[in-house]
Each structure stands twice: as structure tokens, then as C-alpha cells.
Amino acid sequence: MANINLASEGGVVNSAPQSDSHEFDASKTRTQGQLVLRRFLRHRLAMVSLGVFVFLILFAFVGPFIWTYDFEDVTSKSYQPMSGTHPLGTTQVGKDMLALLMRGTGYSLQIALIVAALATAVGVTFGALAGYLRGFVDTALMRLVDLLLIIPQIAVAAIVVKGFSGSWYVVALVLAAFAWMQIARITRGETLSLAQREFVEAARACGASTTRIIFKHLVPNMIGSITVNATLAIAAAVLTEAALSFLGLGVQPPDTSLGVIVLENYGQFMNRPWLFWGPFIVLVSLSLAVNFIGDGLRDAFDPRQTKVRA
């Protein structure tokens, strides 16, 4: 079973990035990874968005160490206007808005990243298994997806949050439970067509196991759409988490998230607009940045599409 992987170099464009060391001819050959990276780095909008995303990560996870107030500190005065000591003012109970925003962004990011990671792992595994094995596994998956379409996410979130706890990781689990279907469906579709190709047949003829074929031959060939959809799942998770928290069914105080901050302060829209626009701008720039990165990745992985799609 030494190097059956060679099979995957067959019919598929630009696959198998393991060939670096063998290259000796003068003209530079680029692996698919290098090509994608080059195209991505040249995508101006995606690079700007990546900058914004990195800035938000620093803001959320390094910011609290620099900023003088903690999100749990309660200062004596409620509803202070914007000032030097409180650049974004204070909330009703006198918490510093900037510190709250840092913490909220942190939680939103943590939740979104975990949701995307879980949803991608589960979705890819299920989707690839269903598409490759067909038959019973496939039917079971499709019925499960049908079932999850009917069960309301809001109800599950509310029950889990009310009955158990509103910690951020519980919210992340609920979100992931409903987010993997999309990725599973896409992976299944791609697997259905890839599984008909010669290199899969060759691998099977060599005696490769199902696990090996799926994770060594099929998944690497779908890495483009998997990456793109994982990125888009992050953006979707940010928005869904915020919406759930806004309804009071997501993250529960004393924990906070961007949705919780909006919920607590949107009543001040007229009188103290900065309390609304602050979290709003962070939320929108986060989801916009991630969506643009996803778009950039899509273009980088599949340059043919740029001519047609937005």
C-alpha cells in the first residue's frame, strides 16, 4: 500500500501537490496550492478584507490586554457620552462599550469559527460517504436533511439555552447542528461525479479502502469548494448567532456577543446612536470581510468562473 496516491495524479487538473521535490526542469512548475495562493494574493478586495478580518481578530483577542477597562467592569455612571476615557460611551449599567465590543467580537468569532470547523468536518464526511457509497447511506443522509429542515432551529436553540445553559460553546453546537447540511449537500453532489472518474476506479482496483479513497483521493479534489463553503459558513454563523442572541435565544448574559450587545442597546437608537452603530459596524464589517474572502477564494480556486459569476 506504499504509494497508491499516484493514482490521483491522473485525470484531474492540477491535483496532487506532492510533486515539488521531483521537479528539476528549468521552467518553474507551480503546484495547485501555489497557483491558488498567487491568485488569492492578487485579489485586491479579498486582501483588503483579509486585513479587516485580521484586524478584528487582533481587536477581539489582543485588545482586551491593552484597553484599560474590562468588559465586566461597572463604572459608576450609566450612559456616558463618547469621551476620551470611554471612546464609545458606556451602557445603561455603566459598562465601557469599547471593552464590551472587544469581548463580544471575540465570542462571535469563536462561535463562528467552531461552527464552520464542525459543520465542514461533519458535512464533508457525510456528504462524501453518501455520494461514494450511494444506496442506503445516501437515502439515510437525505432523510436526515429533510428532518432537519422541518425541526425549527429556533426551538432547539431556545430549549437548549433555557433548559441547559447559554454558554457560547452550547450555542456553537446548536448552530453547527443545522449548518452542516449545506456543505454535505455540496460535497455529495461533487462526490457523485468525481466517483465516476478513472482515478477512483484505479485506486479501487489497487485495493484502496473506502476511507482512503474518500480522504486521500476524493476530498483533495474537492478542496476548492470545501474551503469556499467553509468560509461562507463562517459568515453565515456570525449572522445566525447574532440573530439568535438578539432574540434572547443565543448567548446569555453574563457572557456577551455582538447580538447580545445590539439587543441590549438598540432601544437607544434615537438618543445615543453610537451605542447601536458601534456593534452594528463591527458586525457588518466582520460578515462582509468573511464573505469577500470567500469570494476571493472562489475566484482563486476556479478562475474560469470569474468571467461569469459575480
Binding site: K162, G163, A243, F246, N291
Partner: protein, 332 residues
């Protein structure tokens, strides 16, 4: 075709059963609707036991579900057990909520579809024009927007607009606290005035989000078709631009959007929860959130019966429409 429909409906029955059972168990075990009663003054342990027995809460969950199911199948939707009082009948509550949501959502979705499709087609036909960039970036922005923020913003500017109207000596026009009970009365002009005032803001909030999805989708599918071979052939034959776009391209580009619309519509009828919350409409979304918060399985089951049926039907409808619009796809 009829066999296909019947088969699809039969397949969905076990899914509906499992789904409803899962929801029932989840809600029934998550909390006790009598919890609050315990703290009322003058309530003894015996009273609690009696109330429990009256609502059937002393029985195991599986039996309660079975009782609900048999009642439901014989046409009895049961009564809400929120706050330990079996007073509200489920069926009228659910139909009221569906009527409230339906009135709001149907208009908003149809408007969003019409606008989204027209903008998408125009953007595709004039690709890389200023209009295209404007439409694409607006759609992208709205797509990345949190819905509740859009609703809050729309609502607050509506209130400010009202204040401006008032300062000019006019009546407040836009309503931000749900539809008035009992419908609209007065002269024809007054009815129109009140009607638009009630519906305008939530409709706009709902529309903006759906519009983004429809226009993006329509633009992408229209572009794909405009670049396809049969459109080039049509052009080469000398068919006029308008005829190529409307006769050949537009009709084919509508297929994926029709599917999306059908799926979306089924989902949105089960409650535009955020818009309803922000604008104070007591529709399906509010009903769902309340029934879960009050640990009220019969009400949740009533909600689920309607929405699950709608989702199954609209999914089926989407597949049928797909086959109807695109004869290459055979259902069987």
C-alpha cells in the same frame, strides 16, 4: 406525475412523525409549565398535583405524545398548557398567526421577487456597467447584513419620519407596533392611508433581505445563459436583442430562481421571526418563540403541523415547477 407526488408525500409522513416526536419530547422535557404556579400565593401541593393531573402532565412523555397524536389525527388540535392553564385552543391561535404572517410575507416576497429579478436581469444584460456594479454591491452588502439591524434601522427612521410629519401638522402615518386589531375602517382614502402605514416598514425590512438573494441569483443564472451556445446561435440568426433576451435567455434564467422562491416562501411563512419581533406583529414566529419559552408542547405541535406541511409541500412544489419549466428533467 401523480405517482411521483403520492410517493413524495408518503415518504414525508415518517419524517413528519419523527420530527414532531423529537420536538414534543424536547419541549416537554425542557421545563415545567407549572413552574411559575408554584410561586403564586395560596397554591398548595395538592393544587399543583390537581393541575398536573388535569393537564395530563403526570403521564410519561411518550404517552402524552401518543394522546396528542391520536387527538390530532381525529381533528382535535388540543389546548395550550402555557402557565398551567388549558384555556387557549391551539387551532384558532395558529390560524390567526398564519393569517398575520401571511399578509405580511406574501406581499413582501412577491415585491422582492419582482424587483430582484428585474434588477438581476438588467445587471446581467448590462454587465460591468455602473448599474451592474451598483446592483451587485448593494446585493452583496444586503446579503452580509444582519436582518435584525436592518429592521431596527428601518423602524427608527420610520419613527423619525413620523415625527417630521407631526411637526408639519400632519397625522402620524407609519405604524411600528403591529397591525391594529379589527382591520381598517373609514373612507377609501383613510383605509389606503392606514393600510400602507401599517405594512410599509415591515415589508421594506423583509424585502431588502430577500431582494439581495433573488437579484444575485437571477444575475448569475442570466449571465450563464447569455454566454451559452444557444443564445449565440439565436443572435447569429439575426434575432433582435430584445427577443433574444426575453424569449430565449430570460425564460431559462427564471428556472433556478423559481425553485429558490418556492423554497424560500415555504420557510418564510413559518415565521419572519425577527421582523415580527421588531415590529410587534404576533405571527407564526412569535407563536413559536412563545410556545417554546412557556414549555407548551400542544401549541408548538400546532405550529409544527402547519409549517412542516408547508415546507414539505413547497419543496415538492419546487421540484414539480423545476420539471415543468425545464422539460429535460424528468420526475419519476
Amino acid at each position: 406525475m401523480i405517482r411521483y407526488i403520492i410517493r413524495r408525500l408518503l415518504i414525508s409522513i415518517p419524517i413528519l412523525l419523527i420530527g414532531s416526536f423529537a420536538c414534543y419530547v424536547l419541549v416537554a422535557t425542557a421545563g415545567n409549565p407549572l413552574a411559575e404556579m408554584r410561586f403564586r400565593p395560596g397554591v398548595t401541593e395538592a393544587d399543583l398535583k390537581a393541575a398536573e393531573a388535569a393537564l395530563g402532565l403526570d403521564q410519561p412523555v411518550v404517552i402524552r405524545y401518543w394522546n396528542w397524536l391520536t387527538d390530532f389525527l381525529s381533528g382535535d388540535w388540543g389546548q395550550s398548557i402555557a402557565l398551567g392553564q388549558a384555556k387557549t385552543a391551539v387551532f384558532p391561535a395558529v390560524t390567526d398567526a398564519l393569517w398575520t404572517t401571511g399578509r405580511l410575507v406574501i406581499g413582501a416576497e412577491l415585491l422582492a421577487l419582482t424587483l430582484g429579478v428585474s434588477v438581476g436581469v438588467l445587471a446581467a444584460v448590462r454587465q460591468y456597467s455602473i448599474f451592474d456594479y451598483l446592483a451587485t454591491s448593494t446585493a452583496f452588502l444586503m446579503f452580509s447584513m444582519p436582518i435584525f439591524c436592518v429592521a431596527v434601522i428601518v423602524k427608527n427612521y420610520g419613527i423619525q419620519f413620523n415625527n417630521v410629519l407631526e411637526s408639519m401638522g400632519l397625522d402620524r402615518w407609519l405604524t411600528t407596533a403591529g397591525p391594529r386589531p379589527g382591520g381598517f375602517s373609514g373612507s377609501f382614502g383613510e383605509v389606503i392611508f392606514k393600510y400602507t402605514g401599517t405594512f410599509l416598514l415591515p415589508t421594506v425590512a423583509l424585502m431588502l433581505i430577500s431582494f439581495a438573494a433573488y437579484s444575485r441569483f437571477e444575475r448569475a443564472s442570466m449571465l450563464e445563459i447569455l454566454h451559452s451556445d444557444f443564445v449565440r446561435t439565436a443572435r447569429a440568426k439575426g434575432i433582435s436583442q430584445g427577443r433574444v433576451i426575453f424569449r430565449h435567455a430570460f425564460r431559462n434564467a427564471l428556472i433556478p430562481v423559481a425553485t429558490l422562491f418556492s423554497l424560500n416562501f415555504g420557510a418564510v411563512l413559518s415565521g419572519a421571526i425577527i421582523t415580527e419581533t421588531v415590529f410587534g406583529w404576533s405571527g407564526m414566529g412569535t407563536l413559536l418563540v412563545n410556545s417554546v419559552r412557556q414549555f407548551d408542547p400542544p401549541m408548538l405541535m400546532g405550529w409544527l403541523a402547519v409549517t412542516a406541511t408547508l415546507i414539505v409541500l413547497f419543496n415538492l412544489f419546487a421540484d414539480i415547477v423545476y420539471g415543468f419549466l425545464d422539460p429535460r428533467i424528468r420526475l419519476g
